[in-house]
Symmetry: C2
């Protein structure tokens, strides 16, 4: 019985590690997508788009593994809740990869032009850095179940929301001179970064709930 429990624990640890791997994949993909959009780098944009397929496959295999664990081990109570939560976290993380993919697709669409006017580069660089940081920190939250750090992710998201509001403020200002098409690109880009961070918050909250049994 002790042996079976130990195998099961190894399986749970393996799931947790795969979720951490996913956070690293999406952290890298949003970082590359940001570079691609700011430097109009078509090759890098194509790389992000191709990597998203890899992320999707990784997630599908992880989900199949989780369902197989539930079927074989028939966990109840907190173990079952942890596994169901892992399925939800993998869905959030896969969606973060989609957001990187969407950013890269706009970079590809506007190539050889750039989708982001020069004066907005610092703002998008800040959004990209915030997104990368929040994804990496979410990985640490999953690995360590550190509830203090899971609350930090919420504050990092507040920073992203602030940048997003600044962006929209810039676009609707009467001095905006790059026209409607550019504003549409930037509105969508802003939403992708915002959603990327929202999904990270969702993952961190799920960890917090697993550990404490309550919502922050």
């Amino acid at each position: 019985m002790a042996l079976i429990r130990s195998v099961f624990q190894d399986e749970l640890d393996g799931v947790s590690q795969s979720l951490v791997d996913l956070t690293q994949m999406v952290s890298a993909s949003i970082s590359k997508a940001t570079t691609a959009i700011l430097s109009a780098d078509l090759k890098l944009a194509e790389e992000v788009i191709a990597t998203d397929d890899h992320i999707d496959t990784f997630q599908h295999e992880l989900d199949a593994r989780i369902i197989d664990i539930i079927a074989r081990q028939q966990p109840v109570a907190s173990d079952l809740r942890a596994l169901v939560t892992a399925l939800r976290m993998s869905a959030d993380l896969e969606r973060m990869g989609d957001m990187s993919h969407h950013v890269a697709k706009i970079a590809r669409l506007r190539h050889p032009g750039g989708a982001v006017p020069a004066e907005l580069h610092p703002m998008f660089q800040a959004m990209g850095t915030a997104a990368e940081k929040i994804a990496t920190k979410t990985g640490v939250v999953i690995a360590t179940r550190d509830t203090v750090m899971s609350l930090e992710v919420e504050r990092d998201d507040d920073e992203m929301d602030k940048l997003h509001r600044q962006l929209i403020g810039t676009l609707v200002d009467p001095s905006w001179k790059h026209g409607v098409e550019s504003a549409i690109d930037l509105t969508l880009l802003g939403r992708y970064y915002e959603r990327f961070a929202d999904h990270a918050v969702s993952v961190s909250r799920r960890v917090y709930f697993l550990v404490t049994g309550t919502f922050a």
Copy 2:
């Protein structure tokens, strides 16, 4: 044993019925949100926003029920797959409710003005009607497991994508005269309707996969 199986089957049917209930809630909410945005109806917008809390609560209770069924019945193979899929479908449906909520929030933000210029009313009416139809049809797909109809949902989504492309084409046309702020609202609104339909397609595909074991 036959009795236990029968109770379990009743529970699975109950889950399926709750998912159908959710499709009806989100079908009604996107319909009301469309009316709210096109008639600048603040009261209706507030109603959609309030209803979204109700949808969220309904979904949380459904998810708790599904997890409880897995814990008690310890299903394997196709029954476990159906219950895990139900969790994913409920997440998609909850997200459709969020899209209605987002539409209603733009209606509230622009009140007493209207967010949609008069010449775009027919286009948004068509998007609203398509969204409502696709949600309702998704409910029938869940209830009947009709794979032919699940493929129809994909075609209905193609129609939504076409409307969405027409919208963006209108916004970037040099004759656009409503400015950048309006274009930003309409870009986001267009994305909300498009995502609403995407989630319905996701639900229909999951039903197709449950029934056939393959993707269309």
